[in-house]
C-alpha cells in the first residue's frame, strides 16, 4: 500500500463556509484532535486576517506536537510576514493560475504574478521557513502557464505544489491527466472541491496518479458544496493507501467535535 498524507484545512478553507466561525478555544480543540489522530499538516488559518486570527494561530502552534502547521497567504508580503510572525512551520503562498483570476479578479499580467511570487519566496527564504506553492483554479487554467508557474516555484525552492480544483469541476479522468502531466521533482498536493460530488473520487485518482498529499476537511465543510471529506477519503482509499490515520479514531474525534463545528 502506498503511503500518502493528509493536509487538513478545516480551520482555513473549512471555516470559510458561510455561517461558520470558530472561537479561539474551538480552533485549538479542533487542531488538537487533528494532531492526535495523525494529520501530517494542519492549515491553521490566514494570519493576515488580523490580531485575533494570529492569537489562535500561535496557540495552535504551541499545542500541536506532531503536525506541521501551515499559514495560508495571498501573494502579498504583508500576509507572509504575518504568517512568519505567528510561528508557522510552512508558509503557503496561493498564486492565481487561471486567466479568470489573473485578469478579471486581480487585474494583473502573468509576468506580474511571476515577479510577485519571486518577492514572496525571497521573504520566506530569508526567514528560513518551508515554502509551499498553491495554484488557485489550476483545473481551469492554461496548462502552459501552470507549467511556467511550477517551474518558477521549483526554482524558488517550493517543496510542495498544491494543485487546486477551486470550483470543483474536475472528473477523475481530467484529474488523472492533469496530475500525471506535472513534474516529478516536487511533492504534489491536491485540493479538490465537491461541487459536482466528485471531490473524494478526484482525490483518490490524484493520489493514484502521483500526488503525495490530499487536502481534506472534517465533515467536508468548505466553500459552497465543501472540500474533500476526510472520513470519506479514508473510507474510499482504505484498500489502496496508508494515511497513518485510524478511521475509528477519526470518527470518535468527529463525534465529539460535531457540536463545536455545527452550532
Amino acid at each position: 500500500m502506498m503511503q500518502k498524507y493528509i493536509v487538513d484545512t478545516t480551520l482555513r478553507d473549512g471555516e470559510q463556509t458561510p455561517g461558520l466561525a470558530f472561537t479561539h478555544d474551538e480552533k485549538v480543540a479542533i487542531a488538537k484532535s487533528l494532531d492526535q489522530m495523525g494529520v501530517a499538516r494542519i492549515e491553521a488559518g490566514t494570519p493576515a486576517m488580523g490580531k485575533e486570527e494570529c492569537k489562535s494561530f500561535e496557540r495552535i502552534k504551541s499545542t500541536c506536537r506532531r503536525s506541521k502547521i501551515i499559514g495560508w497567504n495571498r501573494m502579498k508580503i504583508a500576509d507572509i510576514e504575518a504568517s512568519i510572525n505567528c510561528g508557522a512551520d510552512i508558509i503557503h503562498v496561493c498564486a492565481p493560475a487561471s486567466d479568470l483570476l489573473i485578469k478579471e479578479k486581480l487585474k494583473k499580467t502573468k509576468k506580474q504574478v511571476l515577479d510577485e511570487l519571486s518577492h514572496c519566496a525571497d521573504r520566506i527564504r530569508s526567514a528560513g521557513k518551508e515554502f509551499t506553492l498553491g495554484l488557485e483554479d489550476a483545473s481551469r487554467a492554461d496548462a502552459t502557464f501552470v507549467k511556467t508557474l511550477i517551474k518558477k516555484g521549483i526554482e524558488l525552492g517550493a517543496t510542495t505544489l498544491r494543485f487546486s480544483d477551486t470550483v470543483g469541476i474536475f472528473t477523475p479522468r481530467l484529474c488523472k491527466e492533469a496530475v500525471a502531466a506535472l513534474p516529478q521533482n516536487i511533492n504534489i498536493e491536491i485540493h479538490m472541491h465537491n461541487d459536482l460530488g466528485m471531490a473524494v473520487a478526484n482525490s483518490i485518482q490524484g493520489l493514484k496518479s502521483g500526488a503525495t498529499y490530499a487536502d481534506c476537511t472534517l465533515f467536508g465543510i468548505g466553500e459552497r458544496a465543501g472540500n474533500c471529506n476526510l472520513e470519506h477519503l479514508l473510507t474510499a482509499g482504505a484498500a489502496h493507501f496508508k494515511f497513518g490515520i485510524d478511521l475509528d479514531e477519526l470518527k470518535w474525534h468527529q463525534s465529539s467535535l460535531y457540536p463545536t463545528i455545527f452550532k
Binding site: 471555516e15 470559510q16 463556509t17 458561510p18 455561517g19 461558520l20 466561525a21 470558530f22 472561537t23 474551538e26 486576517m49 488580523g50 485575533e52 495571498r74 479568470l100 483570476l101 478579471e104 479578479k105 483554479d137 477551486t166 470550483v167 470543483g168 469541476i169 472528473t171 477523475p172 479522468r173 472541491h193 465537491n194 461541487d195 459536482l196 460530488g197 466528485m198 473524494v200 473520487a201 478526484n202 483518490i204 485518482q205 493514484k208 467536508g220 465543510i221 468548505g222 466553500e223 459552497r224 458544496a225 465543501g226 471529506n229 470519506h232 473510507t235 474510499a236 484498500a239 489502496h240 452550532k263
Partner: protein, 309 residues
C-alpha cells in the same frame, strides 16, 4: 443521448405519499433530463390513473419503467433490465438487457473496461448502476460514460447508496453537453416534492441541491464574485434553480460590507468600523449575525458616529 434511469422509488416508502407530490416529482425529473423512472405498476397507476387503463396488461409485473413517448405522453413499459451484481460474483446474462451493480471502488475501474468490452459486442442494452458506498458513485457514472456507456442509473440525493442523480445530471450538463439535455432548474421543484414524501434531510452543502452552496462570505471570494461570478462559481446558480447570496461574517472583507450595507448609506469610516465589529462579534459568538443583530449593530455604529464625530 444518454439514457438516465431514476431508481429513487425503490428506496422510499411511498405508501403514504400524496399523489400530487409524486406526480410533481416525476414530472420535474423528466424536465431535468431523466429518461426513465423505475417503479411498480401499482405506484404509477395510483399517481397517474389514466395509465391504469392504457397499460393494464402490465399490472402483475414487479417493475416498470415510466418514460415520455415521442408525443410527450407518459408511457409505461416492462423493466427489461436484469440486475447483475458483480460483487456477488455471478456470471452476467448477456442474453438479455442487464443492469450492472456492485461496483463502488473507483480504482478498480478495470472492471468497467471489461464489461464495456463484453457488452459492446452484444446487441443488448447495458445499464450501469454505480454503488456510492465509497462516495465515488457520480465519478463512476462519469467514467462509464467517458468509456462509451450509453445508460446509467441513479437515485435522487443518492438515496439507497446509489450515485446521486442530481450530481450526475449536473456533471453531464457541464462535461457532456452534446450527449445530454435537461433543464436542471426543475431540480428545486423535485427537491421540494422529494422532501414532502420521503421525510429525508438534505444537507445544506449537498452539491447541486443544498441551500447553502451559493452563499459567499469570505472577503477573497466576495471580491471575485462581485467582479465576475464565474471566478468562484462552477456554474451559474440559475442553471440549478438557485441564487447566489453574499452573507456577512467573520471572514468578510471591506468590499462585502460596502456592498451589503449600501442601502444604509454609511460613511466610509462607519463602514470600516462595521467590518471590524462584525468580525469581532462573529469570532466571539462562533457564528454569523442574524439580520436583526446586524440592523442593531448598524444603529449602534451610526449613533457612535453622531456622538463622537
Amino acid at each position: 443521448m444518454i439514457t438516465i434511469i431514476d431508481r429513487t422509488m425503490g428506496h422510499v416508502n411511498t405508501s403514504h405519499a400524496g399523489r400530487e407530490a409524486l406526480s410533481t416529482f416525476f414530472t420535474s425529473l423528466f424536465k431535468s433530463g431523466v429518461t426513465h423512472i423505475e417503479g411498480t405498476p401499482a405506484l404509477f397507476f395510483r399517481v397517474f390513473p389514466e395509465l391504469a387503463h392504457k397499460f393494464k396488461g402490465l399490472s402483475t409485473i414487479p417493475s416498470c419503467l415510466l418514460s415520455l413517448d415521442h408525443y410527450q405522453n407518459l408511457s409505461l413499459n416492462e423493466n427489461p433490465y436484469q440486475q447483475f451484481d458483480i460483487s456477488k460474483d455471478q456470471q452476467p446474462d448477456t442474453e438479455g438487457s442487464c443492469s450492472l451493480t456492485g461496483i463502488s471502488d473507483l480504482l478498480a475501474t478495470d472492471e468497467l473496461v471489461y464489461f464495456m468490452d463484453l457488452f459492446q459486442t452484444s446487441p443488448f442494452a447495458l445499464n450501469f448502476c454505480p454503488d456510492n458506498r465509497l462516495h465515488c458513485g457520480t465519478a463512476l457514472a462519469m467514467e462509464w460514460i467517458t468509456l462509451g456507456g450509453q445508460s446509467v442509473s441513479a437515485s435522487f440525493t443518492g438515496i439507497g447508496q446509489m450515485a446521486p442523480l442530481e450530481e450526475v445530471l449536473m456533471s453531464l450538463t457541464y462535461h457532456c453537453p452534446d450527449k445530454f439535455e435537461g433543464d436542471l432548474s426543475n431540480l428545486q421543484t423535485a427537491k421540494k416534492a422529494f422532501l414532502d414524501f420521503s421525510q429525508a434531510l438534505i444537507p445544506a452543502n449537498k452539491p447541486v441541491l443544498g441551500e447553502q452552496i451559493f452563499k459567499v462570505e469570505s472577503g477573497i471570494h466576495v471580491d471575485g464574485i462581485l467582479k465576475n461570478p464565474a471566478i468562484y462559481e462552477p456554474f451559474d446558480p440559475q442553471i440549478v434553480g438557485q441564487e447566489r447570496e453574499i452573507v456577512l461574517g467573520k471572514h468578510s472583507g471591506q468590499k462585502s460590507i460596502d456592498h451589503k450595507l449600501k442601502s444604509y448609506q454609511l460613511s466610509d469610516s462607519c463602514l470600516k468600523r462595521m467590518l471590524q465589529t462584525i468580525r469581532e462579534r462573529c469570532s466571539q459568538l462562533g457564528r454569523n449575525l442574524s439580520d436583526l443583530e446586524l440592523a442593531n449593530l448598524v444603529m449602534e455604529v451610526q449613533n457612535d458616529a453622531k456622538i463622537y464625530c
